[in-house]
Symmetry: C2
Subunit: 277 residues, 2 copies
């Protein structure tokens, strides 16, 4: 596996790569990332992964500094997964003037759901993904459904700005007890880790109710929030939305997604389930 | 010359084009555009020109509807200039949802100079050029220096968002009396057309003074504005700026540009001169 640190070297490598699939990550890789790599292999001749903890998508007081950096073990995992190249730029390489002057500005969805609690987050995501796409110039790019709103924003951006990249959604990887795999799970104490699957249990219960025909979204949302709060969580949101547009869902909607974000101690966890009925 | 109307057909054509130069235009082509085409031929195997009057970069009350559409004569000129393909999309093709949801947001320079008089203009330019670059995927793209602030915004955007396109600036084409070539010159009455070269005469006089060592920018600006106003112009701005950054120029600055925008009757004209001293 080639380790590439500069934009110029990445572009040079890309020119000889043939059909190329790309998996952008912030590192600290787990099985969920490796499922993205596996999907990438199915769509292209070569696979490039990037590791870049993108300051632009972290807010004031968020965990940019604490975010786990595990370069050596990440490399070993990517090597074993048959990745052809790792793009590992410095901040100086991606943000040479420190400040990013031009930003890709998403529409109102950037201020809803996670965006309501993380101002500027999706602008930072859209902008860095645009930059990475322009540098790597992949044919396809794989993103996990665990970050469902992020996936939605990137798909919509690619479509709206005519970006010549095919976006491949990949199912959320889960621990045996249902907890969605996430780098931030590493922040949990043993006690919190035991409690954490409650988030997915609530989403699964909501999915069952929706499949059974319940369309009283507000009550379902309130019940899940109450269950989490009683167990000591601080709930940012639990919401039923339209799966394809992420707009607010109306009763009788056929393709739904239930999204939630809640904090357990100092750790903010997100998860979602899709429902087709 | 191939005439291409859809994004999909443009992408298919691009794949077999080799090294490709791109000249985005709004049509109503004149010698200034043909100089861009000539520069394009010097940088690539094939040349593609686009004609698209981009609603996004026109403000309320501006001349979007009146903007001259001269498709047949434009085609003849491009054919004669050896252009390989013309990309001529409908609004529906570039803005299928009517509203553009994701925008490329330029930094503060978008609110200065022409931007102060045309709110949203440079956002619209940056966004449509991003879209066109993503569709055409050229190796190089040629832009005229007549729209100096636009050229600056596009160069800065390409650099800041790592867009894999080389931007080639091309000198302003001028009539024998000095008037910068522009589609909007067609709006001028015979009397206004005779008066119009005053704009370039004032800029040339400022250049001479700057080259002679004058660094009292404010007085030079005020004198030029006064001369135009006395001749019946409404002056939007006359400003000395740093040529490379478009930031406000300080005394002693070596690479300058003098930019002006002023209205003669219903027609808004812009022009600029560079000064290296």
């Amino acid at each position: 596996m080639e380790i590439i640190r500069s934009v110029a070297a990445m572009r040079a490598w890309r020119r000889q790569a043939g059909k190329l699939a790309f998996v952008p990550t912030m590192g600290n890789l787990h099985e969920g990332h490796l499922a993205l790599v596996e999907a990438a292999h199915q769509h292209a001749d070569k696979v490039v992964v990037s590791i870049f903890v993108n300051r632009l998508q972290f807010g004031q007081g968020e965990d940019f500094d604490a975010y786990p950096r595990t370069f050596e073990s990440d490399c070993a995992k990517l090597e074993a997964a048959g990745v052809d190249a790792l793009f590992f730029p410095t901040e100086q390489e991606l943000y040479p003037r420190v400040k990013q002057d031009f930003n890709v500005e998403p529409p109102h969805i950037q201020d809803e759901l996670c965006g309501a609690f993380r101002p500027g987050h999706f602008r930072g995501v859209a902008t860095v993904v645009s930059k990475l796409f322009n540098i790597v110039q992949p044919d396809v790019a794989c993103f996990g459904k665990k970050d469902f709103q992020q996936l939605h924003v990137i798909k919509a951006m690619v479509d709206d700005l005519n970006i010549p990249v095919e976006v491949i959604p990949v199912d959320t990887g889960r621990a045996a007890d249902g907890l969605a795999l996430s780098s931030r799970n590493g922040y949990l104490t043993a006690e919190e880790r035991a409690e954490a699957p409650r988030l997915y249990r609530n989403l699964s219960a909501m999915r069952a109710a929706l499949l059974a025909g319940d369309s009283d979204y507000a009550t379902l949302e309130a019940n899940a929030s109450a269950d989490l709060q009683q167990a000591g969580w601080v709930v940012d949101y639990v919401e039923v939305r339209q799966a394809d547009t992420l707009e607010v869902a109306h009763a009788g909607e056929k393709r739904l997604v239930v999204l939630a974000a809640a904090r357990l101690g100092r750790t903010r966890l997100i998860d979602n389930v899709e429902v087709s009925r």
